[in-house]
């Protein structure tokens, strides 16, 4: 009967990003968005950086063990997927009174498109402090090369 009162919408919870979302909805960005773009604050957050010889992807996935996160690269699309929380927390849920539930839980999957010309065979991923760093080396032929200028 009072189901509506208890309905919980984390997106509009105080302290969340509701203010930004409110403005985004009031004045939507007229520019073209990337086809794989997601609203800000989607879990896990992703940063991508580039050096001369590699592209580095940082996946901010706190609380996940290395084996719980799956990273795959197809063509130039990187997909991270996994599952967080749920199990043990749900069991003891009866005795708990929740005041805030802002952390994402459950299954997730995200894809980002990366620059072309990466070598998936030499890719490496490392997990530290809840951040997964994926290093994707560029193919040899795409690395910047120094061109010697010969004196005539």
């Amino acid at each position: 009967m009072f189901g509506d009162l208890r309905r919980f919408d984390p997106a509009w919870a105080p302290g969340g990003d509701w203010f930004r979302r409110f403005f985004d909805e009031m004045w939507p960005d007229p520019g073209a968005a990337d086809i794989r773009s997601v609203p800000r604050g989607s879990f896990p957050m992703i940063n991508v950086g580039r050096t001369d010889d590699a592209v580095r992807v940082y996946v901010f996935a706190p609380g996940l063990a290395a084996e719980e996160l799956e990273v795959s690269l197809q063509d130039n699309v990187l997909t991270v997927s996994g599952r967080r929380g749920g199990g043990a927390e749900a069991d003891t849920g009866e005795r708990r009174t929740h005041f805030r539930r802002e952390r994402a839980a459950g299954e997730f999957s995200r894809s980002v498109s990366l620059p072309e010309g990466l070598d998936p065979d030499r890719a490496e991923a490392r997990f530290r402090n809840g951040v997964c760093e994926v290093v994707l080396p560029k193919r040899e032929e795409l690395k910047p090369r120094r061109i010697d200028i010969q004196a005539s």
């Binding site: 302290g15 896990p44 050096t51 609380g63 005795r95 708990r96 802002e102 402090n129």
Partner: protein, 130 residues
């Protein structure tokens, strides 16, 4: 020339203020269990030594520096985490035993246990037979 200098001067304090404001709000779960409040915060990239938890005047502040090992010459092409630190503050109620607060961090997840004072725990009242 002098105008340029003046503008530079004006900009310095705002930059400093922006840097202080430029912190991410970590998402938290808060629940009550076993006579204690539990606070779980997602702070990826924060290590034990870059995390600071303070209780001052009933205000609990949680701050952590994001320590990423970024190679030199890295240019950002896409960034969702744009700040270097997480910060969030909560006011505590008087029933929390400030001296008994415990904190731990594992894989970027902070777990705080805020026990209630002995005097505020629920007591069972025996009903005597008449």
């Amino acid at each position: 020339m002098s105008e340029v200098a003046k503008r530079e001067e004006n900009r310095a304090p705002t930059e400093r203020r922006e840097r202080r404001m430029d912190a991410l709000l970590p998402p938290v779960d808060i629940y009550e269990e076993d006579n204690a409040l539990h606070l779980i915060a997602d702070m990826p990239g924060v290590q034990r030594d870059t995390l600071s938890i303070e209780v001052n005047d009933n205000v609990l502040s949680l701050e952590g520096e994001v320590a990423l090992e970024v190679p030199e010459g890295l240019t950002s092409i896409y960034a969702e985490v744009r700040a270097q630190r997480f910060a969030r503050r909560f006011t505590l109620s008087h029933e929390i035993d400030m001296d008994a607060i415990q904190a731990s961090i594992d894989q970027g997840v902070v777990h705080l246990i805020l026990p209630k004072k002995e005097t505020h725990r629920p007591r069972r009242i025996d009903v005597k037979p008449a």
